[in-house]
């Protein structure tokens, strides 16, 4: 029907799928109002796996609901492939959603659920049957097509929800924490499955999660959100290795935060002095930086312990040793009283035997120091 007709347009490489311009969403009025989204601008590319990552209440689901059309923005516009969709009802947007609760229709079969969107679009019956078959194959559910949705397992419901949302071949697929109800092993499987589906269908995926590991393993790009704002957008590697803000560094992975003294700044790198007095080179995020004190982050796995304190970047007293299977975490206290964690991979050969109370040197890998915006 008309819905699809208006979306036939030349799709260029690297064109944007979703453009949010200064989008705000305010719930409530007056003194009780809460800005769930605060002047957010974001650009999501065609065919990418884009993740909105943040703690609950950060606005990630609100942004997803605005793209789906379940809510309308208080201010700003949302474009889908260049067309303003901010005020369109959900049923006029070529965008489909996989709900956290799956929201499968309990009075329909698996096949009935998958066919629903196509029927609403007024597709001819043979085409619907064809697409439903293809979708069932895609999510490996052919054998359960005539079952009621209440008669299949949670993981299978998840697949049906995916197939149902993919069947009308939306321009963008929205996924609202779809894996959170699954147990650990199934979640791992579905992560790979989702990535495969995205590759096979070539549909833009916008994925909402609070799980940093999920975000890192699946995404092409991640937007880290907090308090209704997007703090940083980048590839998983950029976000992990070069967090721009303390919140981003803290939310994703483990971090050691220290205060250092910037001695010279040039472009994206800086010279600084660690509290220990040692000079290091560090990366800078975008933004204006001047000489003086700044917060830096060092990942625990980018530091190493050594018994030779003289040449090391820092030194500290070993206070605790935590064995976590693949790794061991060493908790140290630096001379100025700051805590510092070093993580080293456990090996069968040549494992150092440190004991609590040891005075140890801390070596830091090159390029491991990242300066943060305040």
């Amino acid at each position: 029907m008309g819905v699809e007709g208006c979306w036939i347009m030349a799709v260029r490489e690297e064109a944007t799928a979703i453009d949010g311009h200064n989008v705000s969403k305010i719930f409530g009025t007056g003194a009780n109002s809460v800005a769930a989204l605060d002047d957010v601008s974001v650009s999501i590319r065609q065919n990418e796996f884009f993740t909105l990552l943040g703690p609950s209440g950060c606005g990630k689901t609100t942004l997803l609901r605005l793209i789906a059309g379940f809510d309308t923005p208080t201010a700003g516009t949302i474009l889908l492939e260049g067309n303003d969709i901010s005020l369109l009802p959900p049923y006029s947007r070529p965008v489909n959603t996989v709900f956290q609760s799956y929201a499968l229709f309990p009075h329909m079969t698996v096949a009935g659920n998958i066919a629903f969107g196509l029927e609403m679009l007024g597709k001819p019956k043979p085409e619907i049957d064809d697409t439903v078959e293809r979708m069932l194959q895609l999510v490996q559910m052919e054998h359960l097509k005539s079952r009621r949705t209440s008669e299949i397992s949670g993981g299978q419901q998840q697949r049906v929800a995916l197939a149902r949302a993919l069947a009308p071949h939306p321009r963008v697929l929205l996924l609202d924490e779809p894996l959170s109800a699954l147990d650990y092993k199934l979640r791992k499987e579905m992560q790979i499955e989702l990535k495969r589906l995205q590759n096979e269908t070539g549909i833009t995926f916008v994925f909402v999660t609070h799980d940093q590991e999920e975000a890192l393993t699946m995404s092409d790009r991640i937007a880290v959100m907090e308090h209704g704002k997007i703090l940083q957008v980048g590839s998983p590697r950029e976000i992990y290795d070069h967090p721009a803000e303390r919140f981003v560094a803290d939310f994703i992975g483990d971090s050691n935060f220290l205060t250092a003294d910037l001695t010279s700044v040039s472009g994206s790198s800086a010279q600084l002095k660690l509290p220990s007095g040692k000079a290091m080179t560090a990366s800078l995020p975008d933004g204006a930086f001047s000489k003086g004190p700044a917060t830096i982050v060092i990942r625990p796995e980018h530091a190493r312990l050594t018994r030779k304190k003289s040449g090391a970047a820092m030194s500290g007293t070993l206070e605790n040793i935590v064995y976590i299977g693949t790794d061991t975490q060493y908790h140290l206290k630096l001379p100025e009283g700051t805590a510092f964690v070093v993580r080293s991979q456990n090996r069968r050969d040549a494992q150092e035997d440190y004991t609590i109370g040891d005075e140890l040197g801390i070596e830091i890998s090159a390029n491991a120091v990242q300066v943060l915006r305040d």
């Binding site: 819905v3 789906a68 059309g69 379940f70 009802p89 959900p90 049923y91 006029s92 965008v95 489909n96 959603t97 709900f99 609760s101 929201a103 499968l104 229709f105 309990p106 009075h107 629903f116 969107g117 609403m120 679009l121 149902r164 949302a165 009308p168």
Partner: protein
């Protein structure tokens, strides 16, 4: 130890409190069921009495069922009761469905609880009060329009049947995930299509339950009917009430037994439908 001095509210066995393990529970439960069902037994038994008495049983016979069936007054009353119950439960169910949608399928708004209370007014206001109020209002309308038809009874029954239809429908809707309609809209269903294809099929068992409950309640009503009806508009219950003022024969038992059977059948049908559609 200090623990030993503490008063214990739990039984010494450590099992959680269960009313079923209390002394006398079984006796009380049996007594309640006897009170509920024992009076029905002689009613049904004496409907098959071959004699004229409600005190002496003189053998089995269909006599009073045949007599009720042949009685023109009973026939009229029965047909009137069925028409009344069918139309009142139909209208009440339609209104109750709309009310239930309006009180559950929208964002919460001011005065929602008040509306909930207002819808359930017939459950809270004594029936006799409603009966007198309707009598007065309809008397004025009858005088003004000179219309004395069945519409008054249908309106009155519709009014007091609404909460009985409303409660099961509302319960059904409240147990229904709001995101189902959102999902339908997401899958290109217009609001009307979403209602037709998702909301309505899912609330259907609730609607059926409401309609059947309303039907049984209407079929059974005496007080409001007695006050509102025009002369010659007896329903089965008011006809039976009228009979009590004269000579009581087992014919009343026969009619009661039939009404009982209808109720049991309706409730049983509902029970199985509900189980199947769950």
């Amino acid at each position: 130890m200090a623990e030993a001095n503490l008063p214990t509210s739990r039984p010494p066995s450590g099992r959680p409190f269960s009313i079923r393990s209390q002394p006398g529970f079984a006796t009380l439960a049996i007594l309640c069921f006897v009170l509920l069902y024992a009076p029905l037994l002689p009613l049904v038994v004496y409907s098959f009495n071959a004699g004229d008495s409600l005190a002496y049983f003189e053998g089995l016979s269909w006599r009073w069922y045949v007599s009720a069936w042949d009685n023109k007054l009973v026939q009229d009353a029965a047909i009137r009761s069925l028409i009344l119950a069918a139309s009142a439960s139909l209208f009440a169910t339609i209104l109750a469905t709309m009310a239930a949608l309006g009180t559950t399928r929208t964002r919460s708004y001011r005065g929602q609880t008040l509306i909930y209370a207002l819808i359930n007014q017939p459950l809270m206001v004594p029936e006799i009060v409603t009966a007198v109020a309707l009598l007065i209002m309809f008397a004025a309308i009858k005088a003004a329009t000179n219309y004395h038809g069945l519409a008054y009874l249908i309106i009155a029954h519709t009014a007091f049947c609404i909460p009985f239809a409303y409660l099961p429908i509302r319960a059904r809707l409240e147990g229904m995930d709001l995101s189902l309609e959102t999902a339908a809209a997401d899958l290109y269903a217009t609001p009307w299509q979403a209602f037709r294809r998702v909301t309505l099929p899912l609330m259907w068992p609730g609607i059926l339950a409401g309609a059947m409950l309303a039907f049984v309640i209407s079929l059974d009503d005496v007080v409001i009917t007695e006050f509102v009806k025009s002369s010659g508009q007896d329903t089965l219950p008011t006809y039976m009430l009228g009979q009590l003022r004269r000579v009581i024969t087992p014919e009343v038992n026969a009619i009661s037994s039939v009404l009982l059977a209808i109720s049991v059948v309706v409730v049983t049908i509902f029970f199985f439908l509900n189980r199947k559609m769950r």
